[in-house]
Symmetry: D2
Subunit: 380 residues, 4 copies
Amino acid sequence: MKQLRVGLIGYGFMGRTHSNAFRKVNNFFDLDYQPVLKAICARDASKAKAFAAQWGYESVETDWKKLIERDDIDLIDIAAPNNAHAEIAIAAAKAGKMILCEKPLAMNGPQAETMVAAVKKAKVPNMVWYNYRRVPAVTLAKQLIDEGRLGKIFHYRAKFLQDWTINADLPQGGAGLWRLDAKVAGSGVTGDLLAHCIDTAMWLNGNIDTVTAMTETFIKERKHTETGKMTKVTIDDASAFLARFSNGSLATFESTRYARGHKALYTFEINGENGSLAWDLHDLHRLQVFDYKDESKIRGWKSVHVTDGDHPYMKNWWVPGLQIGYEHTFVHQVADFIQGLQSGKMAGPTFKEGLATDYVTDAVLKSAKTKRWEKVKKVR
Amino acid sequence: MKQLRVGLIGYGFMGRTHSNAFRKVNNFFDLDYQPVLKAICARDASKAKAFAAQWGYESVETDWKKLIERDDIDLIDIAAPNNAHAEIAIAAAKAGKMILCEKPLAMNGPQAETMVAAVKKAKVPNMVWYNYRRVPAVTLAKQLIDEGRLGKIFHYRAKFLQDWTINADLPQGGAGLWRLDAKVAGSGVTGDLLAHCIDTAMWLNGNIDTVTAMTETFIKERKHTETGKMTKVTIDDASAFLARFSNGSLATFESTRYARGHKALYTFEINGENGSLAWDLHDLHRLQVFDYKDESKIRGWKSVHVTDGDHPYMKNWWVPGLQIGYEHTFVHQVADFIQGLQSGKMAGPTFKEGLATDYVTDAVLKSAKTKRWEKVKKVR
Amino acid sequence: MKQLRVGLIGYGFMGRTHSNAFRKVNNFFDLDYQPVLKAICARDASKAKAFAAQWGYESVETDWKKLIERDDIDLIDIAAPNNAHAEIAIAAAKAGKMILCEKPLAMNGPQAETMVAAVKKAKVPNMVWYNYRRVPAVTLAKQLIDEGRLGKIFHYRAKFLQDWTINADLPQGGAGLWRLDAKVAGSGVTGDLLAHCIDTAMWLNGNIDTVTAMTETFIKERKHTETGKMTKVTIDDASAFLARFSNGSLATFESTRYARGHKALYTFEINGENGSLAWDLHDLHRLQVFDYKDESKIRGWKSVHVTDGDHPYMKNWWVPGLQIGYEHTFVHQVADFIQGLQSGKMAGPTFKEGLATDYVTDAVLKSAKTKRWEKVKKVR
Amino acid sequence: MKQLRVGLIGYGFMGRTHSNAFRKVNNFFDLDYQPVLKAICARDASKAKAFAAQWGYESVETDWKKLIERDDIDLIDIAAPNNAHAEIAIAAAKAGKMILCEKPLAMNGPQAETMVAAVKKAKVPNMVWYNYRRVPAVTLAKQLIDEGRLGKIFHYRAKFLQDWTINADLPQGGAGLWRLDAKVAGSGVTGDLLAHCIDTAMWLNGNIDTVTAMTETFIKERKHTETGKMTKVTIDDASAFLARFSNGSLATFESTRYARGHKALYTFEINGENGSLAWDLHDLHRLQVFDYKDESKIRGWKSVHVTDGDHPYMKNWWVPGLQIGYEHTFVHQVADFIQGLQSGKMAGPTFKEGLATDYVTDAVLKSAKTKRWEKVKKVR
């Protein structure tokens, strides 16, 4: 068994999901590599130490540049806020490290281009943590579409609805609240939530050509945790757009943190000539399948409980009927990343695919300002 | 167009559902007969008159015996309380009238036998208002089973859950409350709710051989509307039984008026070697279908929205996707009754089938007392 | 009981729903007026006669102008194709008739303006058959919103998805197929399906200010039933738009006849600060309610089975748990129209409200061409 | 951090779920003890070694008696087939080991009594792996019931439906198929599936007093994997019973492996005067809650997505809306076991509670033979 020595940057929510994935993957997947948790890096030494103890990291760093210099590390996992991705990734690439980077890849497309160039030049394996591709039900959707079962596609629709920022007393600033600050996050729900929808959408349905969008900031000012003062909110609270895909299908996309009653309602639906598929993160283990070839009088939406041995990833887990959860998508991603190392055929989403999503979010944000349809830049 | 001249006895909830059915049937079904609302009969003349005005009955009677004597009436529709069914039906049969009788057919099996004998002797068309057979989704279930799609049957389960008698302040006695008095109703939920479950079950899955049951009266005394005094409650509030069908399948049945949160949750499910079906009155326009022959990885329960032109009865109504409701089951029953008259092949459930259900409820009530498995008497 | 003498123009699908409503309303609602089916008018005399026989119309006309001239008619009900609405309605208004008109009110806003002017000048009661307002669950949504329960509204989303025109062999032309011809229908799904969504949306959430839209015609040519030749399809097969309401909320709207698996999936959802509501025509008797004031740990979407006596319209029907269907919305509309006559306070949607919806569809169709945000004209 | 040195017996499905739990618990729960995987014991040395490598066990044993003798082991975890539980557990107790034992506790009540006596005498911490108590939604149900929110309980119903043995070609015998052999398993679905239902039911609703049951073996003979011969099937394929709880509520229970379409449909529902709760393993992260105190017109079943920080166990996992799965129930059980060690107040289900469930399954199996109501023996 070869070692895959990991250095993680960031100990937040994503630091936990990644660490769990590294620790679990070999219990459930037969692989040639075993991730080894070499170091966790964060500015706050005491928090980093606590995290290391909780998750079994062998060492702690407080300067990510030092982490990248270390010879005993093969892979840099970037779970730091969005505005730190590019600098770290480019340095890591120069140091010849493999890179896993949280989504969105960068603050915007041009910045993401520099990251893509860096990993291309350094020829280092790279991946973006768009984890929802690896929900078994979503992967099954991909299989069914790739098998041509839906026929010509007419419609795609996706939304990602949350409600956690409705309270006007919620401050912006440090900790988990950097997501409310455009300087750190790049954008609001567009980069945070819509980016997930877009990554999945393009994976399933190909390129998006043009978009027309609107965004809104419902609560204009919030107290800042550092200054204690009411400060302008710089992110988009809600973002929606119409789109046309290269394959001729039409789409609607929407995301918000003001949809009361929805914690994390990421849904998509795709309608083709011969069938349709629908999925909902709130019941992530199910895929809704409509097959027009079914006999007419018993035709209906099938609720497929994606927990059988012939479903993607599922033979590695428990027995039919017993569901897995959110965290497993990260385990799958690590497993696929390692299998990519083994086969030499890298699993996606690569940085290049991450860039493609950034181009769409750029177009969305631009259209929201110009109030026109905008073309989406294509990745060469 | 021939006339089918109707004399209705009873103006309660069922009097309304039947009247609506008689009035609507010719607008939606092409039939040789047209029901004509000749007379409504009830003891309370003023209420009967009001009902006649509301529904367009041509005349009013206060004595059902007079109604039966009338020459201008072809069909007696019995919507009176259960304890009145037998006497009226037997007299009507003697008078040569066709008879539609509310369910349950009688107070018990032996009484029902006399009714069956009477209609047999008189050779008059007869039917019992077990309306749920004619929910299109239920009729579709019947078709699928009769086509042999489920293969060998292993399990049947049904329940009918309500919650309207939980309040201890609810009195017993007159009006709609006669259902709480065993002298009038025969039994409680066993004859009222379980009887529906049993009729459907035997229609779909054949005869029930043996049962073991339990019943309970949760609230032992209630104020009587006539005397104003606290009086022993004589009916069963809840009733459940295990059963074995003649085809070797096992069953569970349950009904109650103490299942908080359920207004009229009548559900059944049938499991066969090759497939399963499930239905729920609360969404009566859907049938859940599991077809084991579907391809493994997209196998799942199909939610069939039974509103297409190739679904039972539905070509007579609106367009696909637009649901019908509870009242339509009665319209279908009248349509089928008339088509039976036309073809000479009477539609069920006939009195004989109503008797079969009474035999099961008799066995259930007996078993609840003997605490043993009881055999169900078979209709010869 | 006063008579309300009805003359119906058109015997299609809508002719049936209206006729059924006129016939049923007095059985279930206590009203001062009773609709009397005086005449059905259609060019095809034999079909009109058959329809009259089926529904009990006393007479038949083949020229709507003659119908309007008749003294024995109080109310003209327009169920003819869209391009006939204006001329008939204006003539009927001049003749002093009350008017019920199928939706959409007209081919476009300017034409609708002439109709509004006509009924205003003639001071005749008028209404548009946007029937979905009167699904009890939808009416309940209206009550809850009007009671201020949702607080500030952030989002509205609606869609109406069908799949009946996917087959390229489906022709355009006569009978039910006039909906595929823009000269007769005005537009495709925009006027047919989106118009329903828009009427409900403005009723529930106020005016729409601006929109950006896209439309598509997936199948460019279809055989015409009259000529037998392949002819350009002139309608929009799919139509979607983003919108901003006057109250500051954002919206997405979509309709199509190419969403495989959906027969008539009209859904809406509204998200407010304190709660959210969602509804789906495929299970029209349920309203999904999220109430943020519920205790945190048992907070969730409530599936309200809108069949209780304290739900809108439901005390007039059956008993709790027993659902009504599509046709009942038309009965409710007639009942409310008559109550409007009685009270002098006309029930909506009036022609003026129908005009408001036409203004929105005009803006949608315009935006789809200009590819810009378009302002919606306001009804004065 | 104290070590909790684990010796596991058995490497099957349950061996995996337990191992995963031991490995994960400290990453998510702050505890004073850390499970250390000291040894895996199984007769087949090579399989045991492979399992040890997969899961990180430090050593391998092939004789459980040797395992029990080892000084470096604190806790024996029994994941061997049912007929081995008693002997191992009694020996482990004598050796002063803590014991976690797979369910059902024993082959029958009398055997389970000897195990209870052994742990009582040895005063060793003990627990049975009825893991479903620790699905957060189920634990939430327990909280709500214990807070008295449901009021007087009228009904309880549970079922556990599977379909994996319908195929007559499925053999009986070794590996996972020992569940089809009564000598090894004790019984069929009664001990395997109903036992889960019973454990949860008594935890939520108190003691079961009396039962009447039926069982069935649909496929009478199956090929045996060891002999290759058709051999009588000795287990029950299906088992159902009616019950009365000590609190006066009525119950129905059912389990089967012949319910086509259900992989692992464990559901329960409880109806009380003031509310009801329902749960389904196929969507284990949701609890259905009906609260009669909700305002009448917006009363309905709430679908509570049990993923918030104030839901049981959930603050230890991810963020609201992101579901956990089956495996996490075992992590919770280990966490609670350790917290029991810390507090001195042992978490359930203890062996004593496991015995109580065995008493019920004994009564069920007996009643299926005697065809009478049987009293359930009470644990003293």
